[in-house]
């Protein structure tokens, strides 16, 4: 995409700007609350606001649903979109390329870190049986993949990276309330830096509320979000290892 494309939300007719909104205000339902909700919508820059619902959700709390038109318009072509370069290779093909080009097994450690005990996501990426019909990293001959499980402390994980000379570390973060995932994620990078190992390890962050942009911001080399398939991660790691060897994966 290079031509400018100005897009706006589309409800009934092209570019009508229609969006749906819901929220709770700490006010009892009534005309005053209705006016307050309309004012919130106005502050959001909406016009043609239709109040669909105003319901007493509890004493002193009112639930609103509304529709309105926003003037927001985005030049989609002009957006800067950091994307994880996707390499589409089959399982055998990838193993073959890596065996040939890397010439050794790639060591990958995985863990769900800090207080986070959600192992299912990292298991989906790492474990033999894989996810959604896709093999996990443990199944790839080219990877020496070790899944350390959940609630792994960042300091311990950083040490393990050094001890096992890991090429890559895969970190899962699922709990995000009050940005606990940011703290957890950053801590590992700090620990790796403290051990002088950050440069030697490819750091990958994943989880349902993670995206590539956020991962970069937190000091990682790549980020993967909801619905990631193990093969995408495998491909990306091989590509990155090759890149660091001055080669490239086609």
């Amino acid at each position: 995409m290079t031509d400018p494309v100005l897009v706006r939300p589309y409800g009934d007719r092209r570019d009508d700007g229609v969006v749906q909104l819901s929220f709770v205000l700490p006010l009892p339902a009534g005309e005053r609350a209705r006016a307050a909700a309309a004012e919130v919508a106005r502050q959001l820059g909406l016009s043609g606001v239709q109040l669909a619902a105003m319901e007493p959700a509890a004493e002193g709390y009112t639930f609103f649903v509304l529709y309105g038109r926003t003037a927001a318009a985005v030049d989609a072509a002009a957006l800067e979109v950091p994307e994880v370069a996707a390499h589409r290779h089959g399982f055998d093909e990838l193993n073959e390329i890596a065996r040939r080009e890397v010439g050794r097994r790639i060591v990958v450690l995985g863990a769900c870190t800090g207080s986070d005990a959600h192992a299912v996501g990292i298991d989906a990426i790492m474990n033999m049986k894989g996810y959604a019909g896709d093999y996990g990293l443990e199944r790839y001959p080219v990877f020496e993949a070790v899944n350390l499980g959940a609630q792994v402390e960042n300091a311990a994980l950083a040490r393990a990276c050094v001890e096992r000379r890991a090429d890559a570390v895969l970190v899962s973060q699922v709990v995000t309330q009050r940005d606990v995932h940011r703290e957890n994620a950053r801590q590992l990078i700090d620990e790796l830096e403290r051990l002088g190992a950050r440069g030697r390890v490819i750091a990958v962050l994943g989880g349902p509320r993670i995206d590539h942009r956020l991962a970069l911001e937190l000091g990682y080399d790549a980020g993967f979000g909801a619905g990631t398939r193990p093969s995408e991660v495998a491909g990306w790691i091989v590509g990155e290892v090759l890149r660091r060897m001055g080669k490239s994966l086609h």
Binding site: D12, A52, V65
Partner: protein, 523 residues
Amino acid sequence: MLLPDGRTVPDLRLDPGVVGRCRELAGRVADQVLASVQRRTTVSIERAVLRLLGFHAAGPGGIPHVNLMVDQLHARGLLGRGAAWWLGYALRHGAHDPDRIVGLFAGLPREPPPLPAAEEAALRDEVRREARAAAGELRRRVAERDALKAELGTAPRPHKYLIVATGNVWDDVEQARAAAQAGADVIAVIRSTAQSLLDYVPDGATTEGYGGTWATQENFRILREALDQESRRLGRYLHLTNYSSGLCMSEIAFAAAWERLDMLLNDAMYGILFRDINMRRTLCDQHFSRRICAFAGIVINTGEDNYITTADADEAAHTVIASHFVNEGLARRAGLPDRLVGLGHSFEIDPAREDTIVREVAQALLVRTLFPEAPIKYMPPTKHKQGDIFFSHAYDVMADVVARLTGQSIQLLGMMTEAMHNPLLMDRYVALKSADYVYRAWKGMAGEILFREGGAVERRAGAVLGAARELLEEVARDGLPAAIGRGRFGDVARSETGGKGLSGVVERAPDYFNPFLEILEAP
């Protein structure tokens, strides 16, 4: 019970004596209606005949040629002989293009002298030839539609029926494609608010309707073309439907048949009750429109669901059933086989009440059981919808469950924004995704369930059927006009000579000539 499409639904024990009696009574009602219908014609029927004979276009100012022609004949009291006859007359006077014909009609005396017998016969022959040719072309177009349907196949039942109503035909195309890509099987383009009371069919592609898009032949063509394309791309036949209803019922039936639509909303009483259209007018129009549907293999969708948007769904449940029997009787008499009679009903009981599912299931299963061959159309909740779209969505999903459990054939998917506005693109997406989930999740459940003998489901169904029989006794005794006059359907009362469009009803002359009726009525 095993349905013809291979699905199983829970058995519902009904008294076959009562069922038989209902059908017999409704047959009597239909016969009475038919007797009166067969004495009359209407401006709309005659315009439809002219449309069939090739006059699809409009003159300057957008007034359709057929209106200009028929109005002239009607003003002169000549319509009782049939517009086709007069067209023949014009042709034999060398008038072929619409303007000339209108001019010729405008010059006719109020009581033209009779023709010599030979000329009369020649005229009729000529028009019959034209009519046969037109019917042949129509048959060819319908066959084309059926071939595409056979080639691509259709989705399993229930077919997901989605409404498109932007008011602008080009946006409709966009939204119809999007709905199809998201899983719709049937696209219904809703027509603009005021159209049903117009005594003409607007012309050409339109972009400015209110609450819907004008139903025009060109709009039909545009949508069908888009859906043909989309059907091929998706590898699944997409149905198109619109409204054969209002003052131009039969003309729209023609346009729809010609443009290869698959279904039409077409009800015996809807226009009377909800648009205050004169009942003589509508009953005549519906018969001719149904003849066209029968010829063109178009499924009609009746409108009983509407009764319980004005009347209470619990109290008026039996009026829906009684009307189904009447609509069936009328449809059969218009030559529609049961497989084209898509009786309409709906999930409309006030959700504030208790045990609504027992009664909704009883009602939906009753309709299914009484009319096993009919492609029943099930409508979602509308009347008790509120602006809380989350609740509204949950409420729709319950209708999806009942539709699936009771083996409905066509399901109009509820919109979470029903109480708000015409559906947005995302409203349809949300509805389709959840309906697909429900259909998948409840797939075999209907075959697992038996309802307790003498239990609440069975009792409710029996009671509704019994009340329908009583109502039908009254209607058969006093006639349909009297029953409508007492507000028996939808809590709306209308008189036989009230309402719009009565002036467009004409007694057929003894020499009434309608070559299409001859073709359509041929066994």
